[in-house]
């Protein structure tokens, strides 16, 4: 049985994506994995070389926190989950990861309005399409409005 992967970065659409993924996992009884990708080159244009190590450490810290938040949301819905941090180019790492874990579904969050400059230079729809074309995984894109229509389980 394949798994569900929810790639999260803590942005505007993250919670919606996490909730959609939790719902899908509960409905299909498939294992859910939350994924966060630390991209060492995401800020290449503006980064001072002396800051690179600190930036990676800080992105990693953020990833660990965000994954714990996602996991707590799943816990509150009585769903056990796994979390993973990968390092590399966002598109390549997500693609590699969904292949590695033989995922059936990838859930991505998108902000309201434009999605340019989210996940590297790709608009998120393009990213989803690219992954679908290069893997056998379906991609679901969720926007913040999804949360409004659902009652989020309370976390402490």
């Amino acid at each position: 049985m394949g798994s569900i992967v929810c790639a999260t970065r803590g942005g505007e659409g993250s919670r919606a994506a996490q909730m959609a993924a939790i719902e899908q996992a509960k409905a299909t009884d498939k294992p859910l994995i939350f994924l966060y990708v630390v991209d060492p080159h995401s800020l290449d244009d503006e980064i001072d070389e002396s800051l690179r190590e600190a930036l990676l450490a800080e992105l990693n810290w953020m990833g660990e926190t965000l994954l714990r938040i996602a996991q707590k949301r799943a816990d509150a819905a009585y769903l056990g989950t796994e979390v993973r941090i990968r390092r590399g180019n966002v598109r390549d790492e997500i693609t590699r990861f969904v292949k590695d874990v033989k995922a059936d579904l990838l859930v991505l969050g998108a902000p309201r309005g434009t999605t340019a400059n989210v996940f590297g230079d790709d608009a998120i729809e393009r990213l989803g399409k690219w992954i679908e074309e290069h893997t056998a995984v379906s991609v679901q894109i969720t926007r913040p409005d999804y949360v409004k229509s659902k009652k989020e389980p309370a976390t402490r």
Partner: protein, 562 residues
Amino acid sequence: MGFPVLPDQLPQLLLAQENGGLVQQELSLMILLFIAAMVAIVVRRIRLPYTVALVLVGLVLSFFPNFLGFTVSSDLILAILVPPLIFEATLHIPWRSLKKDLLPVLLLAVFGTLVGTFLVGGLVVEFLGIPWPAALAFGALISATDPVAVIAFFRSLGVSKRLTILVEGESLFNDGVAIVIFNLALAAGTASSSLGLGEALQEFSIVAFGGVAVGLVMGYVVSYIILKNVDDHLIETATTVALAFGSFVVAESFGQFVGVEGLHFSGILAVVAAGLMVGNIGTLNTSPTTKLTLDNFWEFLSFVVNSLVFLLIGLEIELSQLRPNIIPIIVAVVAIILSRGVIIYTFGWVYGRFQPRNRIPLNFQHVMYWGGLRGAISLALALSIENAVFGSDVALELRVMTFGVVLFTLLGQGMTIEKLIQRLKLADKPPQRVELQRRQATLFAKWAGQHELGRLRDNGILFRDIWESMNQVYDEEILEKKANLRAHLQDFPELEQEMYLQAREDALNAERSAIGEASRRGLISNEVHDELIIELNNRVAALDLIKKNRGLDVENKEVHHG
């Protein structure tokens, strides 16, 4: 040729022996402070910049000729009132942010002031026939921008940090530069001395770099020797006061300390450098208590001094002189508006060509242009022009032109800058963020109330059964407030990310304070302290980058038309 304040003259300045007795002067001061407090209360209800309101009230008070028990001299403004204002402003400028824009700030402060001096000077010579040295002195003194009113708007409207740094940084450095050029022009105006261009540049460099060096050394000593090793918030705060005034006096009277007659440096630039050093390094070595005391003390002192400065500006403007000199005033106002426009837009364009990745957005340039208000420094320099230098008629004309320009910029530009900022969509306080703060603060307040009840119960002041009932009500209220907060975050999920990033920044700052505390207690060596502080500074800088990358800082946000 330097600013003529010597250490042994300061007590005399403080006692202000010129007019009236000490009691009368003290009474005037108290009345001014009371008036300032009243003005502050009133402007909370109307959308008028505090400083502008103070000037207007000062103008009204100027109808009472003997209102003040002392004369407002340039010494009083420059040596007593300006250093604490500049010191307080620099305390809050993060070096990390200033460093990113140090080049445009310095270029604007140095070359902008020079170009402005000659442009305004040239127009004044052309249209008013004022002699060149006097026109250049006016061009220099009127080039010193005073963004107090503008910065107050920036803070209340939530304008980008970068724009604040550009405006505040330019102003801090151009004050020092303008004073140096002004003194050179005065020297050129006296028959006893004449300066060639090379000599003037040499003098300019010595005075400017010397001032910065004095400030850095004194700031370093205070940061590393006193703030790092003494753990007493009162002593540490007193030391910063001594530094603010001391760096000014030492720089201005440097020759006296080293036995070289006539040697002096820029006091203002010394205060700028000392403030930057203490604000960025010194406060890292202090406890949270000291930091809080420093912030509160300097905020209070800056409020008091600012209030006095702007009331005194209003009081000093001779309304009766404005009307007969309306033509020179109009020429001066047009000259500063034109020259500021030429400087900002030409510089912005050229800088953008050479530094495309760090260019200054056009809407920032509009605010920098229209936000170039003039205030205390210009007025103090105008008051310091002695009749003997350019003749009494020219000296009076320059003073009145300065009053006119200060009045125009404060009233005309100061009262319209808010509209401009909003029109350019540079105000960044979306209602959902304000609502988040409101809901967080309400929850925080409820918790504090519940905590206090627990304390009263523990101390036996509150009976348990009463406490239980009150506590239950609080529990219910807290649950409700939590649900409200959660609902708001559900409606605006982007706020969750902001909440995380803000909390992370606070946590890193707390880690930094803890390292300082460990060093003060002698638990870790200086080397370990420095190493860990650098590491934490890098983590904070990295967090800033993440914020910027995620669009949570409005730096470089630009309005695209069409």
